[in-house]
Symmetry: C2
Subunit: 400 residues, 2 copies
């Protein structure tokens, strides 16, 4: 009952902070609706907010404070000298998004090492009215992880510990700054897989994945993070720590607040810990790369794959010829595994199961049937792990 | 952008209504923490609310109005005479929960036929301060679907239309009052399955399933409704209709508010429509009924089943000997499929795949191995669909 009362109180605070929040420039939601930054990109940015055909200029909200030396002393006291970063080169990196489309002007990057430090930072910034922007691997493509003006950047990358893993249930509990690829390797060693995989895995962090509700390459098999994330810990704007770090699959007590944090881009709080359900690793993986001449056939092929490959289908990815050209022309060492003829669409189909020969036979039969029925015009099955990786690179490297 | 603005406004209202909501007797959350109704069950109920060892008496909040003849006229005008139920026998049924543990004293049962009618009812009740309780199939086991005092019962069972089904994506859109078993049959005819199945399927409704975040018998394969429900329509306490009825699997626009309604038992609004992702039906189903002598072996068996049956495992259900005794002693026509020896634990394992002979072979090998390694002490594989149904009855009828 105590748990319920505490959650209820924190919910009220969280919601109050949400309702009171204005659409100011440091709010990711604001940036979400700022479709077209039309400015000069200089020190005096001219950003525009666009609603349909209307565009209004965005300016720094003057009610936010600017950093002073007392602020820096406070942060150094809490985090230690080296985790309070003012170095221009490091700030330059943290101010610019992965696509180099958005550039902020933050003078301060903070690197907390645990939840308590995140809480102290937020409590202080809230009391001083200092705007903040949470940052993980900074691999997002929509500018959500960089400042617009001079927000303090809070990067959780130093919070990268795996807290627990239960081999019976497959439930992993870890800190938000864990890099996705490290989690994938860790689980692989334990005989499990992350239900989430994406091209940016070498840099992106699980806290950012959760905050942006990343979909990724395993979506068709394992579904969304709303289904796989079992619990979260998050720090609210006023420094309160909301503990929703459950590891129970069927937990229906009270409102399931964690879902508000999944996909809300840090605007309701900073995710600091995650518990996630991971399925056991299955031994047999097969990959095919196919060509398809019209979109309707691609659609039909998805339907058929879901039905005929059913339980072993683990990925169904799609490229049009334009995306394929970009990958082939701009990336070293990537080549089209199909004949040189140009096709309109390309598909990558992966199966994952527990029986090598059965799975392969099944995928081959599916491809043969699809070829005969004219749904695909060409196709090739990866013969070894190198070929499999090269097929995946075509899809994953589209982000470059 | 308009969609975003509207959602944002409605969110504020919804949250305002949530924050302002007191823990009054008509609030399911209140009932959630009313663990022990210690009253005399008469017209003047003595209900107690319990926090740990403390218990305080629950009384009807006097700030709520009582029904008058103007109210009845209004409801008859909106819903038509026959959907405004005052008949004592019908009210008796609607006032009592399925387990006959809780009994309310409502004088009025309303049967809206569409979202607009639900909206008009709620708007009116809100303005008149009439307490309400939403009701679906009334199959819940915790008293959430019946009134505590004289709340107006709003039963959505007449809203039972299937609105759309997309055979390419497998996405079903339907009204909240659709009975789960009807949806299962509908989808079966289309070659798909509901990701949710439970013993009460013949009476329970999808709106109630969503509002209570029902888990059910397919949980181990398809996961929670938070993963499978793609969209919702809900009516807030003031009558506003919150349209979150998306059918896009990767929709990350704005806050994902629908999750607040999944599992919140109608306390934030009444769910009126649901869109849900359904997987294609696979042709081969195999079921085994096993005996296990200690709990640790059951746990190990779950781990092994996830790994060895992997992609085809579709159910893993558990009974202890006490539950088994109850089923065998109190239900007609149910018998223990195993030898008459008493075992400590029983397990039902189901596989669903696309290849009959392969799946059966695999399950048989798994059972043989589990028997040899001593994890199970006995086991039997269903030989036909009748035997399969009889195995399922043991598990499903535990609710009786």
């Amino acid at each position: 009952m105590d748990k319920y009362k505490v959650t209820h109180r924190l919910l009220r605070q969280s919601i109050k902070s949400l309702v009171n929040r204005q659409l100011t420039s440091n709010n990711p939601i604001y940036r979400f609706i700022s479709a077209f930054p039309l400015g000069n990109g200089g020190r005096n940015p001219q950003l525009y907010r666009s609603f349909g055909s209307l565009a209004t200029k965005v300016e720094r909200n003057p009610s936010f404070s600017s950093l002073n030396s007392d602020d820096l002393s406070y942060f150094k006291g809490v985090l230690g000298e080296k985790n309070v970063v003012q170095d221009e080169d490091r700030l330059e990196t943290a101010n610019i998004d992965w696509m180099h489309k958005y550039k902020g002007f933050s003078k301060l990057l903070l690197l907390p090492r645990n939840t308590e430090e995140v809480s102290k930072i937020l409590e202080y910034c809230n009391s001083r009215r200092l705007a903040v922007v949470p940052q993980g691997g900074n691999t997002g493509l929509v500018g959500g992880s960089v400042p617009v003006f001079d927000e303090v950047i809070i990067n959780v990358g130093s919070m990268n510990k795996i807290i627990a893993f239960d081999k019976v249930s497959g439930i992993l509990v870890c800190e938000a700054g864990c890099i996705l690829e490290n989690l994938i390797s860790y689980l692989d060693n334990q005989g499990f897989v992350m239900p989430l995989d994406l091209g940016a895995k070498g840099s992106c962090q699980i806290g950012g994945n959760v905050s942006t509700n990343a979909g990724g390459l395993r979506f068709v098999r394992y579904g969304s993070l709303h289904g796989n994330v079992l619990g979260l810990e998050a720090v609210l704007a006023n420094g309160d720590v909301l503990d929703m770090l459950g590891t129970l699959r069927k937990d229906n007590t009270g409102y399931d607040l964690k879902h508000l944090f999944i996909g809300s881009e840090g605007s309701l709080g900073i995710v600091t810990k995650v518990s996630i359900l991971t399925p056991p690793k299955l031994s047999s993986v097969n990959i095919a790369f196919l060509a398809c001449e019209d979109y309707l056939s691609c659609q039909k092929l998805l339907s058929e794959a879901k039905r005929k490959l059913g339980e072993i289908l683990s990925a169904f990815e799609f490229l049009d010829s334009h995306a394929m050209d970009l990958v082939l022309n701009h990336l070293e060492g990537v080549r089209n595994p199909l004949s040189s003829a140009v096709h309109n669409f390309y598909l990558l189909i992966e199966t994952t199961g527990s029986d090598e020969s059965y799975d392969k036979e099944k995928l081959e039969a599916f491809l043969l049937h699809s070829m005969e029925s004219g749904l695909i015009s060409d196709g090739v099955l990866a013969q070894d792990i190198n070929q499999a990786s090269s097929f995946w690179r075509i899809r994953e490297d589209q982000k470059h």
